[in-house]
C-alpha cells in the first residue's frame, strides 16, 4: 500500500494533464476569438457524449494495440455491430437499452470471428484486419440495403442521447476494463504476452484463448460507441472502400496517451484522462475555426511526435547513466594508476 503522499502526487499528476491542456487551449482560443472553450451546459453535454465515444474506442483499441496487434477491422466491426445489431433490435421493438445490448452482442460475435480467424490463419493482424474490414463493410452495407441504422424519429431511444446515460455506460465500461486489467488472470496473461509470446506459451498460458478474448471484447466495446454515434447524429451510414477505419484511427492517439498516463495510475483512468485531454485539445481546434485539413495535419504531427517521444524517452536517462559509468571508470583507472 502506498502512503498518502504518493497517492496524492499520483492523483495530482493525473488531474494536471487535462487541466494544463485545457488551460492552454482556453488561453489560445480566448486570445484569438474572444470566446471560451466551454461556454454553456450544452457544451458540457457535447463534451461528455464525445468523451464517451472516444474513451470506449480507446478501451477497445488498448486490448489489441497495447499488445502490438493493430486491428484495422475495428471500424468495420463497429459498423456491423451497430447497423446489423441495431436493425435487429428495432425490428424486435427493443428500446434504447435493448438496442445497445443487441449491438454489443453482435459486436462480440464479430470480434470473436476475427479472433478465431486470427488464431487459425496466423497472418499478421494488419493484413487480417484489412481483409476482415473489406468483408464486414460489405456485410454492413448489403445487410441494411445501404441505409445503415436510422435512429431518427424512433421512439423509446431518447435515453441514448442523454449524457447522463452516456456517463453511466461509460462508467460501467470503465469499471469493466479496470477490473479486467487489474484483478483478473487476464491481466497477467496480457502482460506476459507483451513480454514474449514464446515464454508466455511455454509457461502454460493459453495464448490463443487470450487473443480471442481480446478480440471479442474489443468488438463488444466498439459497438457501444457506434450506437452512441448513431443516436446523436440520427443515423450510422455504412461505407465501403475501407473508409470505416478513419473513425478508429483517430482514436489511437488518445489510446497511446492513456497508456502512457496509466503508468502512474491504472489503464482505465489513464485512458479516460487521455481521451479528455485530447478532446479538450480538439474542442479548442474547432473553436479556432481552422480547416479540417489543417486540424488533421496538426493532430498527426503531434501524434508522431508523441510516438517518437514514447520510443525514445529512455535515451537521455541511458546516456546519463552511461556518462556516469564512464566517469566512474575513468576515476577508478586513475586511482589504480596512481596506486601502481
Amino acid at each position: 500500500m502506498m502512503n498518502i503522499k504518493e497517492y496524492f502526487y499520483k492523483v495530482a499528476y493525473i488531474i494536471s494533464v487535462p487541466l494544463v491542456v485545457g488551460l492552454i487551449m482556453e488561453i489560445i482560443v480566448y486570445r484569438q476569438t474572444g470566446g471560451h472553450l466551454i461556454s454553456s451546459v450544452l457544451d458540457i453535454r457535447n463534451l461528455v457524449r464525445d468523451l464517451g465515444v472516444t474513451a470506449i474506442i480507446a478501451f477497445a483499441l488498448s486490448l489489441n494495440l497495447g499488445s502490438g496487434r493493430f486491428d484495422l477491422s475495428l471500424g468495420a466491426q463497429r459498423l456491423v455491430a451497430t447497423i446489423i445489431g441495431g436493425n435487429i433490435a428495432l425490428r424486435l421493438g427493443f428500446n434504447g437499452i435493448g438496442l445497445l445490448l443487441m449491438a454489443i452482442l453482435i459486436g462480440l460475435i464479430a470480434g470473436f470471428v476475427v479472433g478465431m480467424i486470427f488464431i487459425i490463419f496466423r497472418v499478421p493482424p494488419v493484413i487480417l484486419g484489412l481483409g476482415m474490414a473489406m468483408i464486414y463493410e460489405s456485410l454492413a452495407f448489403a445487410g441494411s440495403g445501404g441505409r445503415g441504422l436510422q435512429l431518427f424519429g424512433v421512439p423509446d431511444i431518447e435515453m441514448l442521447v442523454d449524457p447522463n446515460f452516456t456517463m453511466i455506460v461509460l462508467g460501467i465500461g470503465t469499471l469493466f476494463v479496470f477490473v479486467l486489467f487489474t484483478f483478473t488472470k487476464f491481466r497477467y496473461e496480457m502482460q506476459a504476452m507483451r513480454g514474449s509470446q514464446k515464454i508466455a506459451k511455454t509457461s502454460g498460458i493459453n495464448v490463443f484463448r487470450h487473443v480471442v478474448i481480446c478480440y471479442t471484447f474489443a468488438g463488444g466495446l466498439v459497438a457501444i460507441s457506434g450506437v452512441f454515434s448513431a443516436a446523436f447524429t440520427g443515423a450510422l451510414t455504412p461505407v465501403l472502400g475501407m473508409t470505416s477505419n478513419s473513425a478508429v484511427i483517430a482514436m489511437t492517439f488518445p489510446m497511446f496517451v492513456g497508456m502512457y498516463l496509466a503508468r502512474r495510475s491504472n489503464i482505465a483512468v489513464g485512458i479516460i484522462v487521455g481521451s479528455l485531454t485530447l478532446k479538450l485539445f480538439g474542442i479548442g481546434m474547432v473553436a479556432l475555426k481552422i480547416s479540417n485539413a489543417l486540424n488533421t495535419t496538426i493532430n498527426m504531427i503531434f501524434f508522431i511526435g508523441f510516438l517518437a517521444f514514447l520510443a525514445n524517452r529512455h535515451i537521455p536517462e541511458l546516456k546519463r547513466r552511461e556518462k556516469a559509468r564512464i566517469k566512474e571508470a575513468r576515476a577508478k583507472r586513475k586511482e589504480l594508476s596512481i596506486a601502481s
Binding site: 502490438g68 490463419f121 494488419v126 456485410l139 452495407f141 509470446q197 495464448v207 472502400g241 485539413a293 488533421t296
Partner: protein
C-alpha cells in the same frame, strides 16, 4: 503416394506456381462465364493497361514488404506526388523536369517516412497510417476546392509514346536485378526472414530499410506520372484505391506478408494483373457492386491462408 504429395507440397517451385495457376484458372472461369467476351484481345490489353500503375507501385512495395514491414500509405504518397508534379509542370511546361521531379519528390517523401521509422524508432505501420491521413489532408490543401488539369496534348503524347510500358519495364528490370542479384536485395530478404539474425550478422537494419523505401519511392514517382497522364486531372480521390490495391496485389501475387526469402520481385506485377483481372471479370459477369468488395475480401483472405506456411506462434513483433 502421400509422401510424394507432401514432397511436392514442400518444393519451392510448386509453391511459386500457385498464384500463376490461380490467375489462369480465374481467367478461364471468367471467359466461360461471359461467353468469350472476357478473353477478347481488346479486353486483355485493357487489363494490362489498367494493371500497369498498380504493378509499378507494387514492384517497389515488394522491397518494403520484403523486410517484413507493411506500408499502406503508398496510394496517398502517389496522389500527393502527382499533385506536386502537376503544379510543377504547369509552371515549367517541361516534361523532362516533370519526370525528374516526380522521382525526386516521391523518393524524398518515402525517405522522410523511413527516417521517422529508423531515427525516431516509431513502428513502420504507425508511420504509414499517420502519413496516409496526413497526405490526404495535404492533398486537399494543395488542391483546394477544385482539381488540377494537365493539357491534353501533353498527356496524349506521353500515352502514345507508351510511357507507361517503357517506364514499368525499365523499373521492373532494375528492381529484379537489385532484389535477386545484388547484396542489397539479399540483405533485405534476410531482414525479413529473421531480423535478429540479420542484425547479428552485421546488417544495418536502418540503412536497408531506407534503401527499400527509396527504391519504392522511385516506383511511386513513376506511378504518379502514369496516373497524371492517364486522365489528365488530379483530384481529391486520385489514387485513393491504390493503398489497398497494392496490398492486395502483393498478397495475390504470392508474396509472403512476412517477407523474407520467399519474396519474389514478380509478385507485385503478377498480383496487379490478378487484381485488375478480378475487378474486370467481376464487373463483366454482373456481380452487384455491393457485394464486389465482399468477394474481394474473401478471395484475399483465402489466398493469404493458402499462400504461406502457417507459423507455429502467432505473429508478433508488429510494433
Amino acid at each position: 503416394m502421400k509422401e510424394k504429395l507432401i514432397q511436392l507440397n514442400e518444393q519451392q517451385f510448386f509453391i511459386r506456381l500457385v498464384p500463376i495457376v490461380m490467375l489462369l484458372l480465374m481467367a478461364i472461369g471468367f471467359n466461360i462465364a461471359t461467353d468469350g467476351k472476357f478473353g477478347d484481345i481488346r479486353n486483355l490489353r485493357l487489363i494490362v493497361t489498367q494493371a500497369v500503375i498498380i504493378a509499378t507501385v507494387a514492384t517497389g512495395a515488394v522491397f518494403i514488404f520484403g523486410t517484413g514491414n507493411v506500408s499502406i500509405a503508398l496510394g496517398a504518397t502517389t496522389a500527393v506526388t502527382a499533385a506536386i508534379i502537376a503544379k510543377i509542370y504547369l509552371m515549367t511546361e517541361s516534361v523532362v523536369i516533370m519526370v525528374v521531379a516526380a522521382i525526386v519528390v516521391a523518393t524524398l517523401i518515402m525517405i522522410l517516412t523511413a527516417i521517422l521509422s529508423t531515427v525516431l524508432k516509431v513502428s513502420v505501420i504507425f508511420v504509414s497510417i499517420v502519413m496516409m491521413v496526413m497526405f490526404l489532408a495535404i492533398l486537399q490543401t494543395i488542391l483546394g476546392a477544385g482539381t488540377i488539369t494537365l493539357p491534353y496534348a501533353m498527356t496524349s503524347a506521353l500515352t502514345n509514346a507508351n510511357f507507361h510500358y517503357i517506364a514499368f519495364v525499365v523499373y521492373f528490370i532494375l528492381c529484379a536485378i537489385i532484389f535477386h542479384f545484388t547484396g542489397v536485395g539479399r540483405s533485405i530478404r534476410f531482414i525479413g526472414s529473421n531480423k535478429i539474425c540479420a542484425k547479428q550478422s552485421g546488417i544495418f537494419l536502418d540503412k536497408y530499410l531506407m534503401i527499400a523505401f527509396a527504391i519504392a519511392g522511385v516506383g511511386v514517382g513513376l506511378a504518379a506520372i502514369m496516373t497524371s497522364i492517364r486522365t489528365g486531372t488530379i483530384g481529391v480521390g486520385t489514387a485513393s484505391s491504390l493503398n489497398m490495391d497494392v496490398v492486395l496485389a502483393i498478397v495475390l501475387g504470392g508474396m509472403s506478408v512476412f517477407g523474407g526469402t520467399r519474396s519474389y520481385i514478380y509478385a507485385g506485377a503478377l498480383g496487379a494483373l490478378t487484381v485488375t483481372l478480378l475487378n474486370n471479370g467481376l464487373l463483366m459477369v454482373g456481380i452487384s457492386p455491393t457485394i464486389l468488395q465482399l468477394v474481394r475480401g474473401i478471395f484475399f483472405l483465402t489466398l493469404i491462408f493458402a499462400g504461406q506456411k502457417r507459423p507455429d506462434r502467432l505473429p508478433d513483433n508488429e510494433i
